[in-house]
């Protein structure tokens, strides 16, 4: 099949799926709206949600609440993780000391820290930021470390032959050629952060899309629930696309992996 034909079949199939969804959830149809809402209900709800508050805020308020916490945790993770990763690659001894602690923490899902955080800092933004921070930290550190390792050794030798000192080699050669891997790490970290935030909002939040979804589930508002789920997915895609854009801007010499996870 040519790619044109695939796109055509894909578009047709999408329409077909939506039609099947609408048919199954029609009034008096086989699927009750308490089980799954119809596409029309979802759309109506989305428009209503935009202007009228649901459990405390309008849609924009919940979205901003989610996004601000994700960004806070992700940026904090980068501030700690990137220097730590680079330092671990630069000073082997530091890696020997820090890495075992890291290996100990890594297999624990970031979510498992939520109950501990709740006991230590209580329900609030800080608890969610901390959990997102933990989720983002691991990919930040690992990719920063591998970014330094992936630098072509020939470049470093060339730099040294041409008289660069260690500091110049680090700032002018290592960090620059490590940018693509650093950005890949940033993207994975952001994806992890977003996924973890949703879970954190199920457990400890007073606003945010995950909080909306859980409340909608308890109140049997399936239309709100589906709106929240779709928005969570959409925002995740947008964050990932933004990171792809950043990669093209800051490392235009690298061919982008379109399917980056």
């Amino acid at each position: 099949m040519t790619s044109n034909k695939v796109a055509f079949v894909g578009a047709g199939a999408t329409l077909l799926w939506v039609a099947i969804w609408a048919w199954l959830t029609r009034e008096g149809g086989p699927v009750s709206e308490l089980f799954f809402p119809s596409p029309g209900d979802v759309l109506d709800r989305l428009i209503m949600f935009w202007s009228r508050p649901y459990i405390g805020s309008t849609l924009m308020g919940h979205i901003l609440s989610s996004l601000s916490i994700v960004l806070a945790g992700w940026v904090l993770g980068g501030i700690v993780g990137v220097p730590l990763g680079i330092a671990m690659a630069w000073w082997t001894r530091l890696k020997w000391i820090v890495f075992p602690i890291f290996q100990l923490i890594r297999p624990v899902p970031p979510l498992a820290w939520i109950p501990l955080t709740l006991l230590w800092i209580g329900i609030g933004d800080a608890a969610r930021i901390f959990v997102v921070f933990i989720a983002a930290l691991v990919p930040w550190v690992m990719n920063s470390m591998h970014a330094v390792y992936s630098v072509d050794k020939l470049l470093i030798d060339a730099g040294r032959t041409l008289g660069a000192n260690d500091r110049k080699i680090l700032t002018r050669i290592v960090i620059r050629s490590a940018i693509p891997t650093l950005l890949a790490g940033a993207r994975i970290a952001l994806g992890n952060a977003w996924t973890t935030l949703v879970a954190a909002e199920l457990l400890a939040a007073t606003a945010g899309l995950g909080y909306v979804a859980l409340n909608a589930s308890r109140m049997l508002d399936t239309d709100v629930l589906v709106v929240a789920m779709l928005l969570i997915g959409l925002l995740g895609v947008m964050l990932s696309a933004l990171m792809g854009l950043a990669a093209r801007m800051f490392a235009p010499w690298v061919k982008n992996d379109r399917n980056g996870g």
Binding site: M1, W17, T92, P109, P115, I156, D166, W194, L202, A228
Partner: protein, 274 residues
């Protein structure tokens, strides 16, 4: 300052030095933890229990039921749900992935649905799973399934796409039908990628399970730590976290071992996220 990382293959892989440093670092951490809690009492035991308390709590949880089950009961419940979800994801996901790669028409029709669903994080499915199935095993298994399914599909598809068309043509010339082609040519070539998908699916599923159990359920390791939180028992949370982390490591190690046994022809792994 010398640039050490250039020598890393020589210095870190062969010598014992990293092991000594690592052990030392963990030991220092343990000593600091003990000193600040039980010896000097800087930290309130309600905030951070001492290592001895955690070990004692661990022994206690093995013998005495907490929130309805002993530790073994919680572990068993978690493993059961996880196996259900991952099993369903593999049984359904691998064939779907193979079909995606083998039949472009099939892919064109089902890919839109797959793409929409896979970008919704597994935890966002928890509320709807609760709505559909309540606080039951099915809720947890569904969340695990959602977390594990995309990795199975994507990696199976990737594996089949890696099959050299020349091999396929050669097999066809030699008289292989569609069935024989799939069994004898495609699956062996794609097996390492499928296995990678399995590993990712298994660890994604484990992560998602913990999340689902934290939100809803009456048994399981995630439930155990959320009960620890409700009862202000940090040591219970610690035992739960340690159990979740070590089970994850054990499962992954077993898989890595079995890969070398089951797929001795595999090439170096190319990893792919879900």
């Amino acid at each position: 300052m010398r640039i050490n990382f250039l020598n890393r293959t020589r210095s870190s892989d062969s010598s014992r030095l990293p092991l000594i440093y690592g052990a030392g670092s963990l030991l220092v951490l343990l000593i600091l933890w003990t000193l600040s809690t039980s010896v000097l009492g800087w930290i309130d035991p309600m905030t951070l229990p001492s290592p001895a308390e955690v070990v004692a709590r661990f022994g206690n949880l093995i013998v005495e039921p907490f929130s309805g089950s002993t530790l073994a009961g919680h572990v068993g419940a978690s493993l059961y749900r996880w196996a259900l979800g991952v099993g369903a994801a593999v049984l359904l996901g691998v064939p779907v992935g193979i079909l995606f790669a083998w039949l472009p028409g099939f892919r064109a029709v089902f890919n839109p649905i797959f793409e929409v669903l896979r970008y919704i994080p597994p935890f966002a499915w928890v509320p709807i799973a609760i709505l559909w199935f309540g606080a039951s095993t099915a809720t947890q298994a569904m969340v695990v399934f959602i977390a594990a399914f995309p990795a199975c599909v994507i990696n199976a598809q990737l594996g089949v796409q890696q099959v050299d068309p020349i091999l396929v043509r050669a097999a066809r010339v030699l008289g292989a039908g569609q069935g024989a082609m799939l069994r004898r040519v495609v699956v062996p070539v794609a097996a390492p990628a499928i296995f990678t998908g399995l590993r990712i699916a298994i660890s994604n599923g484990w992560m998602a399970l913990v999340g689902a159990e934290l939100v809803v359920g009456k048994v399981g390791l995630g439930f155990l730590i959320s009960q620890g939180q409700n009862n202000d028992s940090v040591s219970t949370i610690f035992v739960g976290i340690i159990a979740i982390g070590s089970l994850g490591v054990i499962i992954d190690t077993l898989l890595q071992r079995s890969e070398t046994v089951l797929l001795p022809w595999r090439k170096p792994r190319a990893q792919r996220d879900g």
